[in-house]
């Protein structure tokens, strides 16, 4: 056992700001001993469909704990593979994890596998703040058991977060939400070749009504009640 390299107090005292003093001003190419972050879409829909790979070459730990607006980057597959190889082989401790991802634009396609993202500009982060508050509110409500899943709880959790973001973006009211939810589900079902019947429409509509309640609850918790429109 080797002792004394990372005293416990020192590790616990580390905060984002403390460990990233240089990074706060670094907007260009990081030096070889600076941390690296790699964000890559895994090709699924809402939820845990993004890979993050972080390299920490410094002696102190890094803790990342927050919400981020992401911007897709136009890279060829060759560029992507080359850059990731440099990340993968960079000196330092490597951690890779799967994280949740949500679309900010209702109606746009989910990213394909292999699309690379970066942390978006400060302007985008500012615009993203209401959505981040909604995500945080959903997390708190979910942990408190105050959401009402009508399907697999984990899938529901990600879906209700996603619809909360879209509700903010689209300023849905109750009727608009239900109509959008039903239409969205219908398109996805038909794209998979599933027959869309009146019975299915009715069931999905019932579900949408129930979910609207959770969306409102989340937006209220987030302080975004006005964005939710009237219920």
């Amino acid at each position: 056992m080797r002792d004394g390299i990372f005293p416990l107090a020192r590790t616990l005292a580390a905060t984002m700001v403390a460990v990233f003093p240089a990074a706060l001003f670094a907007q260009t190419r990081p030096a070889s001993d600076e941390p690296l972050i790699w964000l890559e879409a895994l090709g699924g829909s809402t939820g845990e469909v993004m890979k993050v790979h972080v390299v920490n070459p410094g002696p102190d730990p890094i803790e990342i704990d927050g919400y981020f607006a992401l911007d897709p980057v136009d890279l060829t597959p060759e560029e992507r593979d080359r850059i990731f190889e440099s990340v993968r082989t960079a000196a330092g401790n490597h951690v890779e994890a799967v994280i949740s991802f949500y679309c900010l634009e209702f109606g746009a396609a989910a990213p394909a596998a292999g699309v690379i993202y970066r942390i978006a500009s400060p302007t985008a982060q500012e615009a993203f703040a209401p959505a981040a508050r909604a995500m945080e509110a959903a997390r708190r409500l979910n942990e408190a058991g105050l959401l009402s899943p009508d399907t697999n709880p984990e899938s529901y959790y990600h879906a209700i977060r996603q619809w909360s973001i879209w509700t903010l973006e689209q300023r849905f009211d109750r009727a608009g939400f239900v109509a959008a939810f039903v239409e969205h589900t219908r398109k996805n079902a038909e794209a998979r070749g599933v027959a869309w019947t009146d019975a299915v429409t009715a069931a999905v509509r019932t579900s949408a009504e129930g979910r609207w309640g959770d969306v409102v609850r989340i937006l209220e918790e987030a302080g975004e009640r006005d964005g939710a429109g009237s219920s």
Partner: protein, 735 residues
């Protein structure tokens, strides 16, 4: 409608899975709302939250690789939001770094601490290869010729390895659960250490008889497995090693020492050799195969072959084919990387076949029945028959008959005409004999092609289809040979052979054996010698008032089949032992003390069994129910025997329908010899006893006056009591 359907639909389709019409639903800016009093008091502190979001985002942006940070936004791709909660431990200060000025670039301590931190989710992959891949890219996986993932860290290689054959390790290209990485062996996992420790690969082969390290690489990488451990901080790692030319690297290879199950482990070890426990393995089975012995013989019928002007050139070619076959065929065939046992016999002149059949009544009758062209067929079949018998008598497993183009044309096309269609470099008419055209692609690869047809006879298109689903026999367009050649010889040479023409394809200079053929031949040769050497053990067993008795009489060395299987049941046994007295085989039986269908009780029973002759046989014991009754050690050297008369291939004098046979015998061990003489009227297809185990050295042998002139044979077999030797002569009779 069942309830589950809408719920399933919701789960599957309520998420943004497919592209939609973005124009119909333009994004709307979100208005910021100022938090009200209630939010300030009971809800989150929004200003603080926003500040935190901005600060963390700003910091994270600084971690973006420059090319990603400076790249253009991807048009038409969804912007997104994410939540990241991640902790990444720091890099230990002892990590060796590239920057010499960095204070953390202190040399690694020569001895690392005791603690190797726990790892998880370990996986990796590799496979052993002796020429062809377990996971061939052409032939579909089937039981017995595939590699199967048993777990993330354990594979089962189903294509057996050959004991004693050179072996290399490669990555896996195509198998369920594998990553396509032929040229890399890798181990990856998740570590919980804080100290990055250099590691190298150690490959160990484990078999019943023990284990040995077959290769240890240089340091490959540093991975965070050193303490202090942080179970909550999981760090992924991957350690690859380049194996494009296989490991161990040239000029070293390894071989499996014994038959049976094996386990090859690839483990990451520290520079001082301490195991880390991070390892993956491959299970499999190693088997001994029998390397066939091959006799080569130029045979001529037409003057074009036997003409002194051309014969020396054919003989030179024959020597080349024999040498290359002996040295190079072990590269292709699933046998030990040792020279094949070969021999070049003297030229056989069978020009007599051109007139033999015209004189024989039997053939005349057949000729009338067959009509035009029978003479050519008769010549062909008679030569094939003779060669097959010669092959059996010589003790070689296969006989390769080398011929000039004219003779091959006669045999193959059945015509003397020069323009007769001929499209064969060689052919295999029987299990024992193949014919090769020395004038056209008569090389060692052609020999290999024909021999494979006889392993067993006949492996060709239907068998390929049945065993592998693809018929590649003589198909020029198929490049279905894949693998890595490990050449036998004083200099190590290895070569990737992917996408090569097949040995069983048409005649080309560059070819490789396919996985399908290799596996087929391996299965055949692992059964043992095609026509195994046997030892004929004979004698008596008896029951007397003094107890059980046994007597062993002269042994003979023969080719043939086994009469008495090993490990059978019975109170009496023939035990085959090596020089140290170790049991090589035990053949048990129960004598027939009462003759079947009679009331006759016997107290003396003769026996004679042909038994598979194991390598290293030095002594034969006869054991009764109470123990050993007789024992005979094999002599150090077999006897020698030579026939003095009749002379080979000349007309012999006939005395009253008999030919005088004279011979000499000798034995360097000084043992007394007994001789057995046999006569054949049909070129050895059948034999007749003339003399049985006699010390005489001459005898008058009756002959068949109607036998074809070239079909008379005499065989003299000498035994020194435990080993035997044969001499055969072909002779003619004067009319």
């Amino acid at each position: 409608m069942p309830l589950w359907l809408p719920i399933a639909l919701l789960a599957a389709f309520a998420a943004p899975l497919v592209a939609q019409d973005a124009d119909s639903l333009p994004p709307t800016p979100v208005d910021e709302d100022e938090p009200d009093e209630e939010d300030e008091e009971d809800g989150p502190n929004l200003k603080e939250f926003l500040d935190a979001v901005m600060a963390e985002a700003e910091a994270a942006r600084g971690m973006t690789p420059s090319e990603v940070a400076q790249g253009d936004s991807a048009p038409g791709v969804q912007a997104g939001g994410t939540e990241i909660r991640l902790r990444v431990d720091g890099t230990p200060e002892t990590l060796v770094r590239d920057d010499p000025d960095d204070q953390r670039d202190a040399p690694s301590p020569p001895v690392y601490g005791e603690e190797i931190c726990p790892t998880g989710n370990v996986r990796g992959q590799f496979e052993p290869a002796q020429g062809v891949w377990q996971d061939d890219p052409t032939f579909p996986d089937r039981p017995g010729k595939q590699i199967v993932r048993l777990s993330p860290v354990l594979w089962r290689a189903e294509l057996p390895m050959v004991t004693g054959r050179r072996t290399l390790l490669f990555g896996i290209q195509r198998a369920p659960g594998a990553e396509p990485r032929r040229d890399e062996i890798f181990i990856r996992g998740e570590a919980t250490g804080t100290d990055r420790i250099p590691v190298k690969f150690r490959f160990t082969v484990k078999q019943t008889g023990g284990q040995r390290v077959v290769y240890e690489s240089e340091i490959v990488k540093e991975i965070p497995i050193g303490g202090p451990c942080r179970p909550g901080a999981v760090v992924p790692f991957e350690v690859p090693i380049d194996v494009h030319d296989g490991v161990p690297p040239s000029p070293v290879s390894f071989a499996f020492d014994e038959d049976g199950e094996y386990l090859i482990e690839a483990e990451l070890v520290t520079p001082d050799g301490r195991p880390t426990g991070i390892k993956v393995g491959v299970l499999g089975r190693s088997v001994t195969t029998y390397a066939p012995s091959i006799a080569f013989r130029i045979a001529g019928i037409l003057g074009s072959t036997l003409d002194p002007q051309f014969l020396p050139e054919l003989e030179e070619k024959a020597r080349t084919v024999r040498n290359l076959s002996s040295r190079r065929l072990p590269d292709y065939l699933p046998v030990r990387n040792e020279r094949l046992k070969t021999r070049l016999f003297p030229v056989l002149d069978r020009s007599d076949l051109l007139d033999v059949f015209a004189r024989q009544p039997t053939f005349r009758e057949l000729r009338a029945a067959y009509g035009e062209g029978f003479l050519e067929k008769a010549i062909r079949e008679e030569l094939m028959r003779q060669m097959q018998v010669d092959g059996l008598m010589t003790g070689y497993d296969r006989l390769v008959v080398l011929m000039g183009a004219g003779d091959i044309q006669l045999l193959w096309a059945g015509s003397f005409h020069q323009d007769a269609y001929l499209n064969a470099a060689a052919f295999a008419p029987s299990q024992k004999v193949v014919f090769v055209n020395l004038d056209w692609y008569g090389d060692h690869l052609t020999v290999a092609h024909e021999l494979i047809h006889t392993f067993p006879y006949s492996f060709a298109s239907p068998q390929m289809l049945a065993e592998c689903g693809i018929d590649y026999h003589n198909v020029a367009t198929m490049r279905v040979g894949h693998g890595h050649r490990i050449m036998y010889g004083p200099d190590d040479f290895r070569q990737r052979m992917d996408n090569s023409r097949a040995i069983m394809g048409p005649a080309y200079s560059t070819k490789w054996i396919t996985q399908c053929t290799y596996r087929h031949v391996l299965e055949y040769l692992s059964r043992g010698q095609p026509d195994p050497r046997v030892i004929l053990v004979q004698g008596f067993v008896g029951r007397t008032r003094e107890g059980d008795k046994g007597l062993l009489l002269p042994f003979y060395d023969l080719d043939g089949v086994e009469d008495l299987p090993r490990d059978g049941a019975g109170g009496w046994s023939i035990v085959l032992r090596d020089a140290e007295g170790n049991v090589l085989a035990r053949h048990a039986w129960e004598p027939q003390w009462q003759l079947p269908d009679t009331d006759v009780e016997r107290d003396l029973v003769a026996f004679a069994f042909r038994l598979l002759r194991p390598q290293g046989l030095a002594r034969v014991d006869l054991e009764g129910p109470a123990g050993r009754l007789a024992s005979k050690a094999l002599s150090a050297t077999p006897p020698e025997v030579a026939i003095r008369a009749p002379a080979a291939n000349v007309a012999a004098d006939i005395e009253g329908g008999r030919v005088r046979v004279e011979w000499t015998g000798s034995d360097v061990d000084g043992d007394s010899l007994l001789f057995t003489v046999l006569y054949s009227p049909d070129a050895g297809a059948t034999w007749m006893d003339v003399l049985f185990e006699s010390p005489d050295t001459s005898v008058l042998a009756p002959i068949d006056s109607e036998a074809p002139a070239g079909a008379h044979r005499v065989l003299v077999r000498a035994t020194d009591g435990s080993r035997s030797a044969d001499a055969v002569v072909e002779f003619r009779v004067s009319q």
